[in-house]
């Protein structure tokens, strides 16, 4: 039994290919069925988001899994097998575990530290669990991965500082106003960035917005979208005293707002602060506005710099996260190592016990009642002693190996040499049934 993951993500594959191999709920189910029924795969969890499609599996031998999943995914998506192979990655064993943990900790995301991935992993796992394509190994792995993601999030500041321009703008505004609820926004121009920033602000509780644009109809259109009001562009200074936050992203070649106008507005609003966000290039707002009492001006460069600084800080946090992941991979591998030792020893003992009993019965039958009880006991004791002596060292060694790296191999060899896989299917290489406790937990 081996853990393996096959996948494509934003780093390895272009978006055109990612779109094609992306899987919805039914797609996940179909793929899982195909792998479980036809290809000898033991457990499957497909994970498909807009940046990645990955298939986590438990397979008897990694190379089988690779070929099977490649064929299945190519067949499902219609992508040429060779193209898919070139854009994909394949990890097995510990490195597959590490890969999932990194994904869960959002170290592998396009935006390091983003928060959605945890929910996506959870959903993918729940779906697979519902479709009964998981068992002991993947159940444990995914549950652990979600814990790792949570741990990284609480123990490092990886998700704390915004890394996009519009979210930095919101963050800065909140350093002035604390709560954005009840504040008023004045949006100037119809630039994409301005719109994005306004949307972001609105999602933080802003409920009153004025939109000004050279083309009045466009302003009306945007205002209608947010339930705000359009204002004539030449009257914007009349509305300035009402605005707590001003976002400007016009295409004007000159300043749209000058220091004098802001000073006047500030007097009218009794020095209540105004936060200016200038995302236009060339700039819309006179840089002198920043010198006005209680006016704070951030232009696109300021915001970008802050976003980059934050991204840098996230990288630093990512290194802390790597350490946590290394620890957790270690702990999972340890569990994986012990997983099969106990049932293997039990199976070995049971087999030996069966052999001993059968042989004893045969031998004793030949004496045909001529033995005294004492002799009989002696023979039985001797048989038991032989079995115990023979099994003693392998048992001890197996227990020891369970704490060592690669202990899995001993278990595997033991099973093969003593033929345990055939006689004891429940704990052997075939797909084990879910234990009840594990079903209850999810």
């Amino acid at each position: 039994m081996h853990l393996a993951v096959f996948g494509v993500n934003h780093k390895t594959a272009p978006v055109e290919l990612r779109e094609k191999v992306s899987l919805d709920g039914d797609g996940c189910g179909a793929l899982s069925r195909r792998l479980l029924d036809g290809a000898g795969v033991l457990e499957v969890v497909p994970l498909s988001t807009c940046n990645r499609t990955e298939v986590y599996m438990v397979v008897p031998r990694p190379e089988n899994g690779y070929a099977a999943v490649l064929a299945a995914l190519a067949g499902y998506s219609g992508v040429d097998g060779q193209d898919l192979e070139e854009c994909s990655y394949f990890h097995e064993g510990e490195s597959a575990v590490r890969h999932l943990y990194k994904v869960a900790a959002s170290l592998d995301s396009m935006v390091v530290g983003e928060a959605q991935i945890m929910g996506q992993i959870k959903a993918a796992y729940h779906l697979a669990h519902k479709q009964e394509s998981t068992s002991v190994l993947l159940n444990r792995l995914f549950r652990h991965a979600l814990e790792v993601g949570k741990r990284v999030r609480t123990e490092t500041a990886i998700g704390e500082n915004p890394v996009s321009v519009s979210s930095v703008a919101v963050e800065m505004a909140r350093r002035v106003f604390d709560e954005l609820e009840g504040k008023t926004v004045l949006l100037l121009g119809a630039g994409k960035m301005g719109e994005l920033t306004a949307t972001h602000l609105l999602s933080h509780g802003i409920n009153s917005i004025f939109v000004g644009n050279r083309t009045y109809s466009r302003a009306e259109e945007m205002a209608a979208k947010w339930g705000g009001a359009a204002i004539p562009f030449d009257e914007l200074t009349d509305y300035l005293p009402l605005a707590d936050i001003v976002i400007s992203s016009t295409g004007a070649p000159h300043y749209v707002l000058r220091k004098g106008e802001v000073e006047r507005a500030m007097r009218q609003r009794h020095n209540r602060p105004i936060f200016f966000i200038d995302i236009a290039v060339p700039r819309d707002i006179d840089p002198g506005v920043n010198d006005v009492y209680n006016a704070f001006l951030y232009d696109i460069d300021d915001l970008r710099e802050a976003a980059e600084a934050n991204a840098g800080a996230r990288q630093k946090e990512a290194r802390k996260a790597e350490k946590i992941i290394a620890e957790e991979v270690e702990s999972f591998s340890h569990w994986l190592g012990t997983l099969d030792v106990v049932p293997t020893i039990t199976a070995l003992r049971e087999m030996a016990e069966e052999v001993k009993k059968a042989e004893l019965a045969k031998a004793l039958a030949r004496f045909d009642g001529q033995l005294s009880d004492r002799d009989r006991n002696r023979i039985e004791a001797m048989a038991a002693a032989i079995v115990n002596k023979l099994l003693h060292d392998p048992t001890v060694e197996l227990k020891k190996a369970s704490n060592e790296r690669g202990g899995y191999l001993y278990v595997e060899s033991m099973r093969r040499l003593f033929g345990l896989n055939g006689s004891n299917r429940a704990s052997g290489g075939s797909r084990p049934k879910l234990r009840k406790s594990e079903k209850d937990e999810y």
């Binding site: 500041a157 704390e160 500082n161 909140r174 106003f177 020095n271 602060p273 300021d302 802050a306 800080a313």
Partner: protein, 351 residues
């Protein structure tokens, strides 16, 4: 009893020192475990502090408000209590890096000035006095809160205006200036200049011995060094993107500073009125232009000015923050400075 009290007082001082150090460490590293540890130590220190003050009360038979040690110690006790309560309610552990060292400094000055419990002079033993002193102290506490919020307002505003550049320099300079001022101030309080008379003109003046000058320079230097370390730590912390999250927003700081003054001012008014009532009983005059009275009036007018500019002229933000900062200097002068630098009826508060 006295011995046990001083043991408690010293344990208090030590725990405040260590806890303050850990809070500063937290400010720099944002290690949450450090903040928890610091908070636990602070609770322990606060317990010892409460014990020490309680013993003093039992020992002397009157509330611990009668001399510099008692009132300063009670003041830092109130500061820590206020902080501990706020910390339970709001995520303001970063403020611990300022509040706890401040409590430590006040408590150590108190201990330096401590000369043991003394029976009260009969003139001081009056119900009005206790009301007068405790209300005045409470108003000072609120002014201190306004000061703290105003101080952080200036830092946050500066950082916002400068797009969070030069954070380190801003913190170091601000803290160093305040540390130097506080150190010099305390040095002057600690020093006991002899009263000398100019032979030619007959004017009185303060004669500082070399010991006094060492005390002044020593405390100024210590204040500067502590403030530089604090400023450096805070600046280092502020250079990390996460820090400013732990610093409240301008709106909140402005509001807190305003509320501090808005609560402190009426209390000060009551304090002055009750003082006048008591003065009438004790000295037979409502108001005698004793330096303490004069300076209380100046303080009152100053904070009155804060409220006036704010409510009628619409001042807020930086200007108000600056007034609240200077206001505390005036308060400190009224509270402590007057006792030591100017002679008057209130000078029995001198040790």
């Amino acid at each position: 009893m006295v011995k046990l009290e001083s043991i408690f007082a010293i344990v208090t001082l030590l725990t405040y020192l260590v806890s303050g150090g850990i809070y500063i460490w937290y400010l720099v590293t944002s290690n949450r475990r450090a903040a928890r540890l610091a908070s636990m130590l602070l609770v322990l220190g606060f317990f010892c502090h409460t014990m020490a003050l309680g013993m003093r009360w039992i020992d002397s038979g009157h509330p611990p408000l009668s001399d510099s040690y008692e009132s300063l110690s009670l003041f830092s006790w109130g500061l820590v209590l206020f902080y501990l309560i706020s910390e339970r309610k709001y995520p303001i552990q970063a403020a611990g890096a300022v509040v706890v060292p401040t409590a430590f400094i006040i408590q150590s000055i108190a201990l330096v000035l401590n000369e043991g419990p003394e029976p009260l002079r009969p003139i001081l033993n009056s119900g009005w006095l206790w009301i007068h002193v405790s209300i005045a102290m409470l108003s000072y506490g609120f002014f201190a809160l306004a000061f703290g919020a105003g101080f952080f307002y200036l830092i946050q505003e500066y950082l916002l205006k400068k797009q969070y550049q030069h954070a380190l320099a801003a913190f170091v300079i601000m803290f160093a200036a305040i540390g130097l001022a506080v150190g010099l101030w305390l040095g002057f309080i600690w020093a006991h200049p002899a009263d000398a008379v100019n032979q030619q003109t007959g004017e009185h003046f303060n004669q500082y011995s070399s010991g006094d000058i060492y005390k002044i320079l020593g405390l100024a230097g210590a204040g500067l060094v502590i403030a530089l370390i604090l400023g450096f730590a805070a600046g280092k912390g502020a250079s990390r993107p996460g820090f400013v999250k732990r610093l409240p927003s301008l709106d909140v700081l402005d509001e807190v500073s305003y509320r501090g003054v808005a609560l402190g001012f009426p209390l000060l008014t009551i304090g002055i009125v009750t003082g006048a009532i008591w003065a009438d009983k004790a000295w037979g005059a409502w108001w005698s232009w004793d330096p303490k009275e004069t300076w209380s009036l100046i303080t009152w007018l100053f904070y009155g000015g804060y409220l006036h500019t704010r409510l009628t002229w619409g001042w807020r933000g930086r200007h108000s923050a600056m007034i609240s900062i200077i206001g505390l200097v005036v308060v400190l002068f009224t509270y402590i400075g007057v006792n030591y630098l100017l002679a008057g009826y209130h000078s029995y508060a001198k040790v």
